[in-house]
Symmetry: C2
């Protein structure tokens, strides 16, 4: 085993007073901004007034802010962050040794909190703004359950009611997640459900569906709009979420600077893009300002390949088409991905910010099949100790492959990846892998083309 | 919410070079030593030669060493520790605020690793010595599964084979634990099993038993002795394990000193005593040397009250009576506790070191019913974020009660407790609690007296 040479510790921890006091808004440094959200009725950019019945006021402001580079993190949020942050930047000495690579691998580990992932970073911010606005509670959707757990924790902390629509396949694969949310006092409903109009409609059209994030979003939005004193909150995709998640990248940046480490490649997994966006934002800002030239790799599942195989058009954010239109790489809001075990990555679209940055050629997306991903997960677990979430393991796979390329070329690249969470609630998936029973599913072009037919039709929004 | 006043951060982290380089052996500071292990045949103190067919050579040496105060931690073990240590000492600001107590509460959190508990501290040490001895593999038992997971991780790291006998009730309540162990390459058998002679015997005598640590130990020892190149390793009770776990107390001591915090009360949960012993050892050393006068509270489940209701006699460590005799507070090796959810605390006896220290009046033991414990767990989770293991929650309950006493008296005591692990694999238990279906079981005096009849009969070993 390689010892901790070069005086870089296994885990680089910042002190609490080195933690960021402001979020970083990457949109401020983008010359060409992400396309604005559109009102689906008028096809005009949506206004704050139109968004406020759905989202908390302050969050609407953040959603629409493409100007301010830095946004203060309220003290109450910073105090909560101290309960589980700063998160460590870990040098993967053991993995490097196992791969026999000259590359140096670092990972920012966001799994050391009960939600098991980075989701808590935005959950606590969103709950805080809801509380500040005097709301009774919030509604949301959850895929793998990490966002729902995070929001439940945040709501328990601020004394808010929390209603969670959980994608049915995850509700069934991960019953324990439901109990964690209940322990934190949340109300959890499998989606699609009979409790909303949109849920009933989806069930009528697709009986036996295992659900999707797109369906669950529609139900949660409907529930928020019809309940007095409630707003809807979302765990990914939106620009406000990437803003909150910038704390991941800011801490990573500080930790690397502390030891004069210059990253070459920065890698993250992508579902809606919040972790990846949060991790890369401050580094991307340096690229955008012409100061640096980092390489960014976003990794998605081959079963739900929005960036690698989707189209860059305006689309609905949800299956029920109740949300504003967002311009993004999409597989079509009607795309219902297979019951892949990386539940948190099963979203048909991609953050507008990430989509625009990709369109500008600033991000390299790749996709992997889930068996490839679980092999990486197991290899990583056995040498680094941490049992990674299936979602996070997409980034591990890519980091390993980049490190193996360095072995070929002899390059000593610094590879940084985001390890978003732990896989304690994914043991059915690990069991399938251990038993050799895990299968891979890749949608056909026909399936994707069929789903893309649901993209709204208007001039300038044609599918290629 | 109380802010981080007095300049004490939420989490006190040591740097890697502040980590201990030696274990602390509390027996060296005990004037009256713990009673030696006895050979059950001759009733004479067991020799190294007699122990070496069961245990690794170096571990036998540590087991019998009552003289050396400090024992070097080999560099390979220290390197592994850096993957998840130093663990944070957390100031429970939110819990204090919720309780409105003038007390200051700190907890040493050992759950930030995949085994989910402190068990990894000893697992890696034991695996290291097995590897050094050139063994093929090790056998062990596990209760809640934390020790088995820890040992699987350690064995994967050193390339050792790992055979785990898992108490049947936990095997069934925690199927996911099995998959974590398998992911790390271990072989897991529910105990009692038909794979050993002692397992068959126990099953014949107690058909339908849900097992106990005592049964599983017997099976694992038998398996080790009959397999070439294998030794048995144990996750608690033994003095060597308390020695390895002293890293918890040593780090706690350094962290407190860093901020000039003088603890008044130190609290830990007790099953076999390894966490509690490890946490208190260095502080107990100060008491033993007459330098300090800390108060120590050991907390056990009312369903398995070895210290609060057991007898201090020589007893078998295992149900099958294949191990050496240990003098300890015991409920009798035939005592099979109810299917309490704190699986890791379901052991009939208590570490000889803890037993002797208690007999000297240096430790205050208390017991709680599991519903009281889960209420504390939920309260803690909702304000401190971390979802605690049922085992650890015994210490939380006691810490809360001590803090509430301070509220009555106005005393600003510094309370330190050990938060040994996370409860991600205990969601059936949380579900039972959430649904109001959790029951309490307390053994009757008759049940305990009946089990104590199994204590070996020889002069000086009478039951009172």
């Amino acid at each position: 085993m390689k010892s901790a040479n070069e005086n870089i510790p296994y885990k680089i921890f910042l002190s609490e007073d080195e933690m960021p006091t402001q979020y970083y808004n990457v949109r401020a440094d983008m010359e060409k901004k992400p396309a604005p959200l559109l009102n689906p009725g008028t096809l005009k950019p949506i206004t704050a007034e139109e968004l406020e019945p759905i989202f908390c006021k302050e969050l609407v402001k953040q959603e629409l802010d493409t100007i301010h580079r830095h946004i203060d993190i309220p003290e109450e949020i910073r105090e909560f962050y101290k309960m589980y942050r700063p998160s460590p930047l870990v040098r993967a000495y053991c993995l490097e040794e196992k791969l026999q690579t000259p590359a140096k691998i670092y990972y920012k580990f966001e799994g050391n909190n009960t939600s098991g992932s980075h989701k808590l970073n935005s959950a606590i911010a969103q709950a805080y703004y809801a509380k500040e606005q005097g709301l009774k509670g919030v509604t949301t959707e959850t895929g793998a359950g990490q966002w729902g757990t995070a929001l439940s924790m945040a709501c328990a902390y601020f004394g808010l009611d929390c209603k969670v629509f959980m994608v049915k396949v995850s509700y069934e694969q991960k019953p324990f997640r439901r109990e964690v949310m209940r322990t934190y006092g949340a109300n959890v409903t499998p989606s699609p459900s009979e409790t909303t109009e949109v849920g009933k409609k989806i069930l009528a059209e697709h009986p036996g569906t295992t659900g999707s994030l797109g369906c669950a979003i529609s139900e949660a939005v409907e529930e928020a709009v019809k309940s007095d004193g409630y707003r809807y909150v979302l765990g990914s995709v939106l620009s406000q979420v990437l803003l909150h998640q910038s704390i991941i990248g800011l801490e990573t940046q500080s930790a690397l600077r502390k030891y004069n480490i210059e990253p070459d490649i920065i890698i993250g997994c992508m579902g809606g893009g919040s972790n990846f966006g949060g991790l890369i934002s401050p580094f991307m800002g340096e690229n955008l300002r012409g100061e640096k030239n980092y390489e960014f790799i976003g990794v998605e599942p081959a079963s739900c390949p929005s960036l690698t195989r989707g189209q860059y058009v305006y689309d609905f954010c949800d299956t029920g088409k109740v949300c504003p239109l967002a311009k993004m790489y999409t597989l079509g809001s009607g795309f219902i991905p297979s019951a892949d075990h990386a539940g948190g990555l099963r979203y048909h679209g991609m953050s507008s910010i990430i989509s625009e940055l990709y369109d500008q050629g600033r991000i390299k997306p790749i996709s992997y099949k889930q068996t490839e991903v679980f092999q990486a997960a197991e290899d990583f677990a056995r040498c680094e100790g941490i049992l990674p979430a299936p979602e996070s393991s997409h980034a591990i796979r890519a980091a390993i492959d980049e490190a193996l390329k360095c072995k070929e070329t002899g390059e000593e690249k610094n590879i940084v990846f985001g390890l978003t969470g732990t896989g304690y609630f994914d043991m059915y998936a690990y069991q399938a892998f251990n038993d050799g029973k895990m299968t891979d599913y890749i949608p056909t072009d026909e399936e994707i083309n069929e789903a893309l037919k649901g993209v709204p039709q208007f001039p300038g929004n044609e599918i290629k």
